[in-house]
Symmetry: none
């Protein structure tokens, strides 16, 4: 029997409030050079400690599968209860979400970047000398002005950082994924894109559109230097994903600061609550909106950012800043509260990793693992064990008494 | 490769004796109001402690899937090694087992209860004013006397508690599940049952039988007050389940007191050893039958019963009573002994829950986790980790050296 179908069948609508707080990239590893502790272990977290003393269950979560390092997309989809292997989102889509572009189901999105071509159309610099963002914005504005449609599809172009931009094709009967319009090395021409699934008429349509887009767009920038061409990768459509609300019988809201996370929440149909810029403001917004939603996704970016920088002290401080603000949330305690990361970002690795992230769960029925603090090492001893991140929402729903008994 | 097939292929017939002792609903959660400990932690268990000191492996088991609260049926099927998602048993079948009715493969069973109908056949009270058990027994006796067959199928009727009873249809070519003959609210007529799978000729046959049963039975009680009608739910057939003995090469016996657990054991072909009423008598019977069987399922009900009552002290005492009797079993130590629950029944929840139950495994090869006691918190630290309950039998078989090496 399909497990998701079983969960749906057993789901009861209740009045419970659930909150998921994601400290992006929270998980870390203890290394000798860092005094054999993690930023979470080194941080002073009196408010988290007090929460633990009230009784929490702890554990660690495998974001996707053993050894797999996830990007933010699969990391968050798993936290939202969507198997990241089943619900794959193209990089173009993720990039578009990251730039704050609202996507519709069926939109085909591509990550793009300017490059330099020689007279024969051979790629001589895949990043066009890493042009400045301002130049990129000018080029994108020019393209957007001149190429508003290809075929029947609307074209949406938005500049990113440096040489990067995103192109969206909004039309009917389109589908990805397509092969890359990128030779992935210099000294070769831009390849023509093709449908990955040769049997998909929709993907063939999309490939034709990309070819037309190149035909229309390349001449416009042909005289520019050094950015006289562009590459496109990760070309895919936004998949139709069952909404969070229909899947879990919970009305969800997202309180995030960065566009990528708002976009990922929007992908599953969460309402974006805009405005807050600090974690304290995010928690205040949660309190203000408490009665209006059943599920709150609150995203905190800085743990990941400093992990990526390899800055142990700054990551530790980011956790302490989070802890300082935590009482605002705890003053209006949801029925079920989960605090975790979407993956680990160990300072020693300066990037995302596969290490299971620690998770803490508090509810009237979470029980207590009798640990003093919430840490990676403590979470190893918790009652939740090591489990797949996609089951976190199921643990949360169970703690909210949202599941009927299975069988007599 | 199918895992069950692999286990079968590797299974060696040995002379090992295995015993599974189920303290029903054993698992619990530590809450502040209970002094932050569980009944198992609070109980004085010198004999369990001594067993732990001899060397045991501990862990926790997910009964069905994360967050899923199982009934006794799925809980025990998992302990017997049958995936409870694959082997689903209808509520009618479970109810029949609970009333001590011996079912045969293919029997269609239904939970039924008396109700009140108005002159137009509209349900005005779904529970017929909650008639007394005695009245229910009289009505069932009347129906059983007058309706012995419908079509070619034998009809077996047995009264339960209050307004509840069970009906079994024993014939050829029948199958469930069927939709309910129950409007699930008052003010509506009793719906005609239909096959859930419209393509199943057997289910259509069963639906026809139910209609004939209603036609024959309703007039018999039409003049009774207040119970002049009845509803039927959870109508399903007893699935053909591969027997425990063919699956594991172990000759199994069940030493249980309550009909439901004897019934579940019988469902997989275990021999019921009748007679014992106390856990001491159950262990004595185990000793007496030691040479006659390879696998003993010993069921202790009271931990669940007091958990359902929310009676912490009584649940603790039930564990202590169990511990008092334990030396009888330990005096005739099986080669592999597992002690666990079929699920958790936290006192704080007064009902079954999803929390993984603690499990203890002792054999010459179980190793020792070097813990002092058998508790939920201790089990979190054990070498077995958190695993699906359906694998317990495989751990037991492995400890009995019943598996050949896989691959060279």
């Amino acid at each position: 029997m399909n497990l998701d179908a079983l969960y749906s069948e057993l789901t009861l609508k209740t009045k419970a409030k659930l909150a998921l707080v994601v400290l992006d990239g929270l998980g870390d590893i203890a290394t000798k050079s860092q005094g054999e502790c993690t930023p979470l272990e080194a941080a002073a977290t009196p408010n988290l400690d007090a929460l633990v003393a009230r009784g929490v269950a702890q554990g660690r979560m495998t974001p996707v599968a053993p050894g797999i390092t996830p990007g933010s997309g699969p990391g968050h989809l798993a936290l939202f209860g969507y198997d990241p292997l089943e619900f794959q989102v193209g990089r173009g889509v993720i990039e578009a979400l990251g730039l704050g572009l609202g996507l519709k189901a069926g939109d085909v999105a591509a990550r793009a970047n300017f490059c330099t071509l020689d007279a024969k159309g051979i790629v001589t610099d895949r990043r066009a000398g890493r042009i400045e963002t301002k130049v990129c914005e000018e080029l994108c504005a020019l393209l957007a002005k001149k190429v508003k449609k290809v075929g029947d599809a609307e074209v949406i172009i938005k500049a990113g950082k440096g040489h990067r931009f995103v192109v969206i094709f909004r039309g009917k009967g389109l589908e990805g994924p397509l092969t890359d319009a990128d030779p992935h090395r210099e000294g070769r021409p831009i390849p023509t894109v093709e449908a990955v699934d040769k049997k998909s008429a929709k993907a063939k349509n999309a490939a034709k559109l990309i070819a037309e887009f190149y035909k229309a767009a390349l001449p416009i920038i042909a005289k520019k230097k050094p950015a006289n061409g562009f590459l496109m990768r990760g070309i895919a459509h936004q998949p139709a994903i069952p909404t969070f609300e229909e899947r879990y019988q919970l009305k969800p809201a997202c309180i995030a600061v960065y566009p990528m996370y708002k976009g990922l929440a929007q992908l599953v149909g969460m309402t974006k609550l805009e405005g807050p810029q600090t974690i304290a403001e995010q928690f205040e917004r949660y309190v203000a909106e408490y009665d209006n939603y059943d599920y709150f996704f609150i995203h905190y970016k800085y743990t990941d950012m400093y992990g990526e920088d390899g800055n142990f002290e700054a990551k530790k401080k980011a956790i302490e800043d989070f802890d300082d603000a935590l009482p605002i949330l705890l003053a209006k305690m949801p029925d079920v509260l989960a605090i975790t990361g979407d993956h680990s970002t160990p300072c020693a690795m300066k990037g995302h990793s596969w290490h299971p992230q620690p998770v803490l769960l508090h509810s009237e029925f979470s029980g207590s693992d009798k640990l003093d603090r919430f840490t990676e090492t403590g979470a190893n001893l918790g009652s939740l064990g090591v489990f797949d991140a996609k089951f976190l929402i199921r643990h949360m729903q169970a703690n909210a008494k949202m599941f009927d008994k299975f069988g007599a």
